[in-house]
Amino acid sequence: MMRDLTAEEIERYADGELDAGAVAEAEAHLSECARCATAVLSVMQMKRALRAMPRFAPPAALRARVLARPAQRPQATWWLAAAAVVAFVIAGGVFLRARDATAGQLVDLHTTILASANPVDVLSTDRHTVKPWFEGKLPFAVDVPDLPQPLHLIGGRVIYWRGQPGGYMLIGKGAHRISLFVFADDAVPRSIASRAGMTIVTWRSRGLAYVAVADVPAEDLQPLQRAFVRD
């Protein structure tokens, strides 16, 4: 095919909406026309970018409200209970997979940062150095409280996760290293599963979500959580 593809043909080709004959013709042209190929590629890139965008996750309470029914005749209740259980199991499966993926990503991030030659950008045990360092680098203020012994601050940096900026603090406890991620509240799922050998503790405070990842028991992270939640 000699002529350039029309704008409509480019969209339809990229969207998989051309019939087989038209696809063959379009491809014959695309193989020899850089301009049209670029146009198709550009549409496909946008499609890919949109598909990869983080999705808005419904709050758990909404699911409960949707499942709640107006008052029923009593006979119908066991059917409702059964339907609710099915729904819960289906929803739970989806939910657990999402939790697991989130946990995997955060553990990967923790491991990658620890393996790096420069895990932190601001190296300081002094919270009065680390807190101001975050200022202007994040769309929210990161509070750096006094940490109870034996926890000690090592430093901080800015990270990106799922396209969202976050604060990162590296905290030591003996030879163990704890990663503490701080994001805007809505950037982090409500619940994150733990991984084998890794403890993940999540909490929320003043519009921020905190995720601590470490190879220590969950109890050891409680003093950390208390330090950040405390007024």
């Binding site: 969207d15 146009a39 989806v94």
Partner: protein, 175 residues
């Protein structure tokens, strides 16, 4: 007896609950507001359940639910505000004149960040925003989009072309 009463309900839930997350996501793109989205999704499920008798089995249930959600949004206060006062399709041939002027320079999306892309989509007028979201976020076919929005497939195509052009121009303007 009870079965007659309960069956449509469980049939509805079996079909509708897997759409819970996608419907909420779509609601967020329509309303751009988390609270409104929650109300919208809840109302959609109520209306869907109530009107389930009018759903023709074998037809596209997803499009049916999305249509309920969208119609509910359009009749809400913010929905009424979101609809452009004049037809945006009054110039159906316009996109034919959009010539293919892509150059390698236009392959910018790899560098455009997610946040800028999200904002560019949010700033689209509703008729463009919704076709783009249904096509590229919800992965619907043109036919399914046409069914959901109750517009001809040709209109889906032309709106998609213009939506993508607008997003590209917005992102380009920021660089």
């Amino acid at each position: 007896m009870t079965q007659d009463l309960a069956d449509p309900r469980s049939a509805f839930e079996e079909l509708a609950l897997p759409l819970f997350e996608p419907l909420y996501n779509y609601a967020r793109w329509l309303t751009r507001d988390p609270i409104e989205s929650e109300d919208l999704v809840q109302e959609t499920y109520l209306k869907g359940l109530r009107g389930f008798g009018s759903f023709a089995p074998g037809t596209n249930f997803r499009a049916w639910m999305y249509r309920i959600l969208r119609n509910t949004f359009l009749t809400s206060r913010s929905g009424l505000r979101a609809v452009p006062p004049v037809s945006i399709d009054e110039d159906p041939d316009h996109f034919e004149q959009i010539s293919v002027t892509e150059t390698p320079e236009s392959l910018f999306l790899a560098r455009a960040d997610v946040e800028a892309l999200g904002l560019a989509i949010e700033s689209l007028p509703l008729p463009f925003r919704e076709v783009l979201v249904l096509s590229d976020v919800e992965n619907m076919s043109y036919r399914e989009i046409a069914e959901t929005l109750a517009i001809p497939i040709g209109t889906v195509t032309s709106r998609l072309i213009r939506a993508r052009l607008k997003v590209r121009n917005t992102l380009r303007g920021q660089q």
